[in-house]
Structures are given as structure tokens and as C-alpha cells.
């Protein structure tokens, strides 16, 4: 029992301690983005990872929940309704759930390509309608509210971003807990069964459609909660929050993190938010790097980052993980240099300026020496990486073989 609680205690502690360690304004805003992304990516994974439904329009529930939450903020401001703004994410969640019940009633009939196409169509439809129905969506300007009205919550008025962070952390914890518990319920287990073999699930008496519908609604609820958190944090929403770009981003997060694991989307959300906010400070090409990383992840790490970590479970379990450390270092170092070399080449080709400081090294796009040096270093590093793959493979086989040997 206790070992099952340890990850949760660690997660709670991390949520509480992080804003104390990183307390600058920028850091807090990044943490808030992370909190929103974690809930949204987990909600998305309920659909794709656990239910096997690939959606290209999940931002619809995030966005609709968020828009409703902003309208709730406005209603609180004008005293049409009277409740604490701490409940705003729940408003978003309920509206996301409503939308999911309505749309899921016909879109979950089939999984696979049909579901993916309906989700794409609905996504485009809602995104386009949001520019037409100005009263609710505010057109291109969007709608904005103010989170500081309504009854105070133990004297807190949420004027500061830190206060919003702790509220978001609370909702992240609640949402993550409930999403985890959902995977343990019969409904969650059946979602996995229907994902793997809908026909067999039908034969033992479950309606695949109803199972998918339940997952879909739950996913819509939590996506709406994420939208509500977004509304609390930014206090405004635009068409951008429910269009295809947002849907694509959440797919990216869940996939890079790892679909097959509960913590996968959390890893993906954290990594992508960090990349988004840190990398964009250094280079305007960060979207290009993100695209390259995504394509390479799909090609070489089909189980995502979480899957990569979990690959070492066996070696770790038998105490052989240490034998991998040096081989990893031997391959990792030239690989890192190769990656940096390629990045330097891309930056050199792109820059408009005369002098470019890459990791403190001055490089100039107009000098031949810069080009020769960077290309040579990259080529040598790539070659070294390729040559070192053999020893890594051997070490990997040793670690896992030995582990299997002790098992017998």
C-alpha cells in the first residue's frame, strides 16, 4: 500500500516545492503553463493511450470549457452568480463534459480512421464557427474576464500568479488522481480491452460504443478542467485555444511523453512546456527543432520518453543498471556533440547577423573557417557516435541477458 502511495507523495511534494525553488515571475508562469498542459495531456491520453481513439480535435473541449469559464468569470464580476473563483475549473470541466456528451453521442460509434476524421471535422467546424458566433467567442479578439472578483477564498483574491499556481496545483492533483483512479475502474479496464480488441469485448457482452463513449466523456470533462485552468491563468481565450494547432500540440505532448504509460503525458507536458518557454528565448527556430524531435521520436522511440525510461526496468530490477552507465557515456557524449553541431549548422545558415555566439563560441556565417570547423566537428562526432553504437548494443544485451540469467 505504502509503495503505491510513494509516487503520489512525491508528486504532491514536487507541486508544493517547485514554486519555492523557482520563484521568479517567469518561472511561475512556466509552472502554470505546465499545470494546464499536464491536465490536458492526461485527458488526451485517456482517449488515445487508454481508449485507442486518435483525435485531431480535442482542443474543442479544452476551448469550450475555457470559454465557458471566462463567461463564468464575467458573470461573477457582474454578480449574476455568486461563487468562489476557485471553482472556475469545475465550470470549464462541466461544460467540456456537456460538449463531449453531445459530440460523443455520434462520434464514438467507430474507432480508428472514422473517429479520427469526425474529430478533425468537428474541430475545424467549431474553430470556424467561433469566428462567426461573436457573442460567445468574441470573434478574433476573443473574450476576457477578471479573476479577482467574487467571494474571497480564505482572504486570497488571486491577483498574484503564485496564488493561481497553488490553485492550479490543487486541481492538477485532483484531476491526476481521478484520472488515475479511472484507469483502475472496470470502465477504465474495459477501455483498454476495447482499444486492443473491440470484437472480443463485444462477444463478452460489452458494447464497444458505450465503453468508448464513457472514456470520451471523461476525457472531455478533464480537458474542460484544463481549459478552466487556462481561463483562470490567462483570463482570456481566443479562437487559437480551440483550433487545430492546439489539438496538434496536445497530441505531440502525449505522444512524445509516451502513450502506453500513465506518467507519459506528464513527462511530455513538462518537456514540451520547458522547450516552448526556454528554447524560444534563445532561438526563433525552436519550432523547427520541435518538429525534428517529434518526427525522430515517432521513428525511433515509438513508446515515447516514458517508454525509454521503462526500457531499463529489467536491468534496474536486477541491479545491472550501473553497467550501462559508462557505455551510455561513451555513446552519449559524441551524440550530444553531433546534435549541437547540427544545431550550430542550422543556426549559421539561418542567422542574419555578422557574428553569432553559439554556447559562447563566436561563429560568423561569412567566414569560411567557422563553416569548416563546425562541419568537421559535426562529421567527426557523427562518425564517433556510429562507431560507438556497437559497444552500447553489447552492453545493453549484457545487462538484459544477465538479468534474465539470474531470473532462472
Amino acid at each position: 500500500m505504502l509503495t503505491r502511495l510513494i509516487p503520489w507523495i512525491g508528486f504532491t511534494a514536487a507541486l508544493l516545492i517547485l514554486p519555492l525553488l523557482f520563484d521568479s515571475i517567469l518561472a511561475i508562469s512556466v509552472l502554470n503553463q505546465m499545470a494546464i498542459a499536464i491536465v490536458f495531456a492526461l485527458a488526451y491520453n485517456m482517449l488515445l493511450g487508454q481508449g485507442g481513439m486518435l483525435s485531431f480535435g480535442h482542443a474543442v473541449y479544452f476551448g469550450l470549457g475555457g470559454f465557458m469559464a471566462v463567461h463564468a468569470l464575467i458573470m461573477i464580476e457582474y454578480e449574476t452568480v455568486y461563487f468562489s473563483v476557485t471553482l472556475i475549473p469545475l465550470v470549464g470541466g462541466l461544460f467540456g463534459l456537456l460538449a463531449a456528451i453531445f459530440i460523443g453521442s455520434f462520434s464514438t460509434r467507430k474507432a480508428g480512421t472514422v473517429f479520427a476524421m469526425i474529430s478533425l471535422g468537428i474541430g475545424e467546424l467549431i474553430a470556424a464557427s467561433s469566428l462567426i458566433f461573436v457573442d460567445f467567442f468574441g470573434g478574433e479578439a476573443g473574450v476576457s474576464g477578471d479573476r479577482t472578483f467574487g467571494p474571497l477564498f480564505f482572504g486570497v483574491d488571486f491577483a498574484q500568479n503564485v496564488e493561481v499556481y497553488y490553485l492550479a496545483a490543487f486541481w492538477v492533483l485532483v484531476a491526476t488522481l481521478f484520472m488515475y483512479l479511472f484507469t483502475q475502474t472496470p470502465a477504465g479496464r474495459m477501455a483498454n480491452a476495447v482499444r486492443d480488441n473491440p470484437e472480443r469485448a463485444e462477444f463478452i457482452g460489452y458494447s464497444a460504443r458505450r465503453v468508448r463513449f464513457i472514456s470520451f466523456c471523461a476525457s472531455g470533462l478533464f480537458a474542460g478542467i484544463a481549459g478552466g485552468l487556462f481561463a483562470m491563468n490567462y483570463e482570456f481565450l481566443t479562437e487559437e485555444n480551440l483550433n487545430a494547432a492546439t489539438s496538434g500540440r496536445v497530441l505531440l505532448m502525449a505522444y512524445i511523453g509516451g502513450l502506453g504509460y500513465f506518467i507519459g503525458p506528464i513527462v511530455g507536458a513538462v518537456v514540451l512546456t520547458l522547450m516552448n518557454s526556454l528554447l524560444s528565448n534563445y532561438t526563433e527556430l525552436w519550432m523547427l527543432y520541435l518538429g525534428i524531435m517529434f518526427v525522430l521520436t515517432v521513428m525511433f522511440l515509438p513508446r515515447g520518453f516514458a517508454g525509454f525510461i521503462m526500457m531499463h526496468q529489467m536491468a534496474w530490477y536486477h541491479g545491472k543498471l550501473r553497467s550501462l552507465f559508462i557505455p551510455y557515456l561513451i555513446t552519449g557524449l559524441p551524440a550530444l556533440i553531433a546534435v549541437l553541431g547540427v544545431v550550430a549548422l542550422i543556426e549559421l545558415a539561418h542567422t542574419q547577423e555578422e557574428l553569432l555566439h553559439f554556447l559562447g563560441i563566436p561563429l560568423s556565417p561569412s567566414s569560411a573557417i567557422s563553416w569548416v570547423v563546425v562541419i568537421t566537428v559535426t562529421a567527426v562526432a557523427v562518425n564517433a557516435t556510429r562507431r560507438s553504437l556497437g559497444q552500447l548494443k553489447k552492453a545493453w544485451e549484457f545487462a538484459n541477458e544477465a538479468a534474465m540469467g539470474t531470473r532462472e
Partner: protein, 316 residues
């Protein structure tokens, strides 16, 4: 009224045939590999950009010949070194891969050519009105677009149904193992079809670039519509894709040209609402306003009531 109708029909025809050039490649690729290629419209964009770069040195006509070949070559490379590798991870991985590729190609285009709109012009040779009807001109370039699209359609039809290679392709779609046992290199056929499909998208890009403007977002604008067409027509059905392309092209064109809307409908049934009504946006909706979303509305309706599409036979 008649002139509006005729010009809407002509414009719809141009758009529809252009869409078919993309949809035909996508359909062929889907029937072969069973994967909907999200990056298909990206090759359309690459075609337009390659043609822009080539035409600024060697003129439009060289661009028309060379750019699709380059785009098709890129497509073949993607199949050989990307998609074939991802294939073993399953369908979702393939779909997600092409999705990521579309994202990546857009970034690469921005990296190579910049974010701004490119001044890619139609050739001077075709810069004259083909005919004048009711005082409105129909440009020769649009006529040229119709000509190229129809020529490609006929060429594709004859290659697929009459030539030896077409028959092998058709056989490889339904019975890849038998075809392989007969001594044909099926992976090479797959790569070839992917390349030719991408090249067709490239042709569409070359001839659409000057009319629909060449900018980094052009793949997204057309990409989802092409998807809609392939699904509405019935996945894997070339004839269905043709019907759906023309349907969508004409539908959008008529919707934009029309001037009716909800107010007319409300007048007809004798209902009226105050301006302050909460659903005022709905009651003042006009047809041109919703023209961009009509394809998606049609997609959702078709998928609900006829999930196999208009002419599709494929069951999930």
C-alpha cells in the same frame, strides 16, 4: 443571375479539379498503404515553392516540368526512409508520423524561404482573358488549370486501367503477397506510388501557387479540405474522390457567390427576432459566411449517416 451562376460554376470547376489532383494521389496512397497521409498537402506546398525558386531563374515552364519531379523525389525519400520504418509500429504511429511530418515540412519551408508570401507569378504567355462573358473576363490561366487537371485525370485513368504497370499497381493494392510471389518488387511499387502521388500534389502546387498565393500556411488551408474529400468520396475510391472534389469545389463556389442567408429563411417562414436576441449571430448568418465550414459540415454528416463515404466499399 445567370452570369453569377456560370462564373461560380467555372470557378468551382477550377477549384474542384485542383482538389482532385491532390485527392487522387492521397487516395492511391491510402489504398496501397492504408494510411491517410497528413503530409500530402505539404508536397503541394513544396511543389509551389520549388516552382517559385526555379521559375525565378529558368521561367515558369521549366518550373512546371521540374518542380513536381523534385517534390515526387522528396515523397519517395520520405516513404523509403521514414514511413517504411514507422510501419512496424502500427497505424496510429504512421498517422502520427505523417502529422509530424506536415508540421516539420512547414517549418522547413519557413526556414528555407522565410515567412512572407512569395511573389510567384503566372506566365506572361497566359496573361490574357480567354473569353469575355456578360462583361466579365475568364483568364486564360484558369483555362490552362482546367486543361492540365483534365489531362492528368485522363492520363492517370489510362495508366491505371490500361497499362501493364497500372495493372500491377492495382494488383499490389489488393494482393501484395501474390504480386511479390510473381516476382515484382512490391516495396519499390509502394515507393513509386508514394512518389508519383507526391508529384501529382506538386503539380497542383505549381499551377495553384500563382492563383492561391504561395505562403507557408498554404498546406494547412488546403490540406484538411483534401482530407474531407477523400473521406466523403469513400476511402480508397478514385471515382469517389473525383465526385467529391467537384462537389466540394462547386458547393464552396456557389455558397460564396450566393447572397441568401438566415434572414431570407426567417422571412420565408414569417419569423423575426430582435437584434438583442442572444442568438442574433445565428439569425443573421449568411451563406457566404459559412462557405469555409461547409466541407466540414458535409464531412461530419457523411460520416454519421454513411461512414463508408459516397462511393466507398471499405469497411473498418
Amino acid at each position: 443571375m445567370l452570369e453569377v451562376f456560370i462564373f461560380a460554376t467555372l470557378n468551382g470547376l477550377v477549384t474542384g479539379l485542383l482538389l482532385f489532383m491532390l485527392a487522387s494521389g492521397l487516395t492511391l496512397i491510402f489504398s496501397m498503404m492504408g494510411v491517410l497521409n497528413f503530409a500530402h498537402a505539404s508536397f503541394y506546398m513544396l511543389g509551389a515553392y520549388f516552382a517559385y525558386s526555379i521559375s525565378s531563374y529558368l521561367g515558369f515552364w521549366t518550373g512546371l516540368l521540374v518542380a513536381p519531379v523534385v517534390a515526387g523525389f522528396c515523397g519517395a525519400l520520405v516513404e523509403r526512409y521514414g514511413l517504411r520504418h514507422v510501419h512496424k509500429h502500427g497505424h496510429v504511429a504512421e498517422l502520427v508520423f505523417t502529422f509530424g511530418l506536415a508540421f516539420l515540412i512547414e517549418e522547413i519551408v519557413q526556414f528555407l524561404w522565410g515567412r512572407d508570401t512569395k511573389n510567384y507569378q503566372q506566365p506572361e504567355l497566359l496573361d490574357f482573358p480567354l473569353f469575355t462573358l456578360f462583361g466579365q473576363e475568364f483568364s486564360a490561366y484558369r483555362g490552362f488549370m482546367i486543361f492540365i487537371s483534365v489531362a492528368i485525370f485522363i492520363g492517370l485513368y489510362y495508366t491505371l486501367t490500361r497499362s501493364r504497370i497500372g495493372i500491377i499497381i492495382q494488383a499490389a493494392i489488393t494482393h501484395p503477397h501474390t504480386v511479390a510471389n510473381l516476382g515484382h518488387n512490391v516495396p519499390l511499387i509502394f515507393m513509386g506510388v508514394f512518389g508519383v502521388g507526391s508529384a501529382l500534389a506538386g503539380v497542383a502546387g505549381v499551377i495553384a501557387g500563382p492563383v492561391l498565393t504561395t505562403f507557408p500556411g498554404m498546406a494547412i488551408v488546403l490540406g484538411s479540405i483534401v482530407f474531407v474529400i477523400v473521406v466523403i468520396g469513400g476511402l480508397g475510391s478514385l471515382a469517389g474522390a473525383f465526385v467529391a472534389s467537384l462537389l466540394i469545389g462547386l458547393l464552396q463556389s456557389y455558397a460564396i457567390a450566393s447572397d441568401v442567408g438566415m434572414p431570407d429563411l426567417l422571412d420565408l417562414i414569417g419569423v423575426s427576432f430582435e437584434r438583442s436576441h442572444p442568438l442574433n449571430d445565428l439569425w443573421t448568418l449568411t451563406l457566404p459566411q459559412i462557405a469555409p465550414i461547409l466541407p466540414f459540415l458535409l464531412l461530419v454528416l457523411v460520416l454519421i449517416f454513411r461512414p463508408t463515404g459516397l462511393l466507398g466499399k471499405r469497411e473498418e
